[in-house]
Amino acid sequence: MATLKTLVYLILYPGLLFIFFYSTFAEWYDRKLYARLQNRMGPTHTGRAGVLQPIADFIKLMSKEDIVPERADRGMFRALPAFGLAIVSTGMLLLPVWNYSLSNPSATSFSGDIVVLLYILSLPTFIFFLAGWSSTNLFSTVGATRVLTMLFGYEVPLFLTVLTPAVLANSWRLAEIAAFYRHHPWLALLNIPAFIIALICVQAKLERTPFDIPHAETEIVGGTFTEYSGKKLALFRLMMDVELVVAAGLLATVFLGGFPGGLLPGLINFIIKTLLVIFLLSLLRATTSRIRVDQVISLSWRYLAPLAVIQLLVIIFIKGLIS
């Protein structure tokens, strides 16, 4: 019975199947919103209002010819997409939607899971770097170096701002942090500057405009993914969708009070709150132009990191006041 439950947990909900459908839905939502903000229609044909378009794209890519360049590191080149998808899907399991029980920490909800989740979210960046590097294409190589250069910019402010609410809530467990802010909603308001900084950093982590520098098509063609095609590209695209959902889920947990209410209300909360975060990310994507990689570094070290440090100091000070 326990094995069956674990299998259902891993394959159906909240495992791969749910992740697949929800992340493709998130991609549709992002694409539709982006298109409407640009005065375009966006996907319309497949399914109602084009909602099945990302799935259609996925199936189409899966059936396309899959080429591995002869000069590429074949093993690495093949393994990376699956490896990356596995990593971000694991991140999904850590979100406190399905392990909402506060009193009994489980294998996927424990003290310190926020750090694990941040760690898991850093890994895709290295996957992208290795993907670009192992393709040995010039455009991929430039894309790969850009991935790493950007990482040095946004990672520190992201960690600082995501850990700020945890400091105030005095917990390293996602479910407990969320519960803390549900009980003290006005304290969540203190984290608004951190939320804004974290949004910008997540946008950079997801490599979306204005930070779509590693695969800026007008500069370096496909960037890190220049040599990828067929199934591998499909998996990479799915991976990016899942990463979008996980990152949105993380922000919704620590800044927007998590997903209370048990199985079904928790799920509804999850969908509404992640869509809200994705809405903000899409808005940022539609209203900005791509910046240069050196501008990312100066932006994060001149403005984002100092602001994050100030925010952290303010939170520590306030924590001292209220306790």
Binding site: Q38, L138, V142, T218, E219, T287, T288, R290
Partner: protein
């Protein structure tokens, strides 16, 4: 570590084939090399086999964006050769279309600049509003791209009151939108951060390297054929030459937006002062032996046609110098010491129209760097020879 990156002949940033080899040191460009000749069409040779009238339509097809520019430049030259003077109304309609073309070309460029900078929302909005001017052009000429409005000795279609009213109404909307894009393009922080200081071309360099059009004017040189050597009725039309002093891509954007606003004024003036009368005079079939150079300010800069006649109904020689060709030398200068990220922007900022500029085949020997011009027949022999002896390689060497 420095390595070479090939931009083109096929690259998402380039809509037409051209090769740019950039030698980069990390993200910084140390050396740039331009390779032309991927799209030679033999237009000039073809022109020698067609009559004066047929050539108007051939000239129109040199470029898809400034189609009217080449046709007008050619027609003006032929009119000089034939010593005929088109009627006023015809000239007014001719330059009305050329200003509308400038508007559509500059709006197109603005959108492309947005896209190259990764600002796709800007691109979508500008191109939506470009449809307004495309509609105007369609109401005037019946076509969106190749207007076919020119005839030797005037124009082919007249304007009526209803069309004039439609154009004036649409113009209001375009004015508002352009003012908004001016605000957006010059104040949106991430967009300005991408454009300001990129592709610096000093005033001296711009003059020395013979840059033309908005590229030259953005370096602070007020040079415009419409003002310096007025053709058609530009001496009667009030307008200003727009310049900028920042010498970078932002300056080129500002110049183009300012020119848009000037063009709206010109269009309004032309429509409100449209003289009555015929739109064309009858042209002779032949031109006396003579030669002429015709200049025209295309949206991209100065366009030059050299036409030589020998008394028959066909030109003996027709030479086209498209504005893009004049800007290539300056582009190399602008690319040096920039970032890879700026290549598409700098390149787009001259508004390249590569197919218009492709005129001759030059073969550069990679080992000795010797350049030679070859004839078509020897080129054909060479290709046959190469195809015969070269077996197809399984994996082509990376060409660096």
């Amino acid at each position: 570590m420095s390595f070479q990156i090939p931009i083109g002949p096929q690259h998402p940033a380039l809509k037409e084939p051209i090769g740019v080899r950039v030698t980069v040191d990390g993200e910084i460009i140390r050396e740039a090399d331009l390779r032309l000749g991927y799209n030679h069409r033999g237009v000039e040779k073809l022109a020698e086999q067609k009559t004066w009238t047929q050539n108007i339509y051939l000239m129109e097809r040199i470029c898809g964006i400034c189609s009217h520019s080449h046709a007008t430049c050619y027609v003006q030259g032929v009119e000089k050769l034939m010593e005929i003077e088109p009627p006023k109304r015809g000239l007014y309609i001719r330059i009305l279309v050329s200003e509308l073309e400038r508007v559509h070309s500059h709006l197109l460029w603005l959108g492309v600049a947005g896209h190259e900078a990764g600002f796709d929302s800007f691109f979508m909005y500008v191109w939506r509003d470009r449809e307004i001017v495309m509609d105007i052009l369609e109401t005037i000429s019946g076509n969106r791209v190749h207007y076919a409005i020119n005839a030797i000795g005037g124009v082919r279609r007249d304007l009526d009151e209803l069309q004039i009213k439609h154009i004036l109404d649409s113009l209001e909307l375009l004015r508002q939108r352009s003012a908004y894009y001016q605000k957006l393009g010059t104040t949106e922080p991430s967009f300005v951060a991408r454009l300001a200081g990129v592709g610096y071309l000093s005033r001296e360099d711009a003059i020395e390297l013979c840059a033309v059009g908005p590229t030259l004017r953005a370096s602070g040189v007020p040079m415009d054929v419409r003002k310096d050597d007025p053709y058609a009725v530009y001496d009667e039309v009030p307008f200003e030459v727009c310049t900028a002093d920042s010498c970078d891509v932002l300056g080129r954007t500002v110049v183009r937006i300012k020119e848009l606003l000037q063009s709206y004024n010109i269009i309004e003036f032309l429509l409100k002062n449209l003289p009555a009368g015929p739109i064309a005079v009858r042209a002779p079939r032949r031109a006396k032996p003579n030669e002429v150079v015709s200049r025209y300010e295309a949206p991209r800069g100065e366009n030059i046609h050299y036409i030589k006649s020998n008394g028959s109904d066909k030109p003996e020689r027709l030479k086209v110098r498209a504005p893009t060709l004049a800007n290539y030398a300056a582009t190399i200068k602008m690319l040096k010491n920039g970032f890879i990220a700026d290549v598409p922007l700098i390149f787009a900022a001259i508004d390249p129209c590569i197919c218009c500029a492709e005129r001759s085949v030059a073969i550069v020997d990679a080992r000795t760097a010797q350049e030679r011009i070859v004839t078509m027949s020897s080129l054909r022999e060479l290709s046959l020879k190469t195809a015969k002896y070269q077996t197809r390689k399984r994996e082509a060497e990376w060409p660096l």
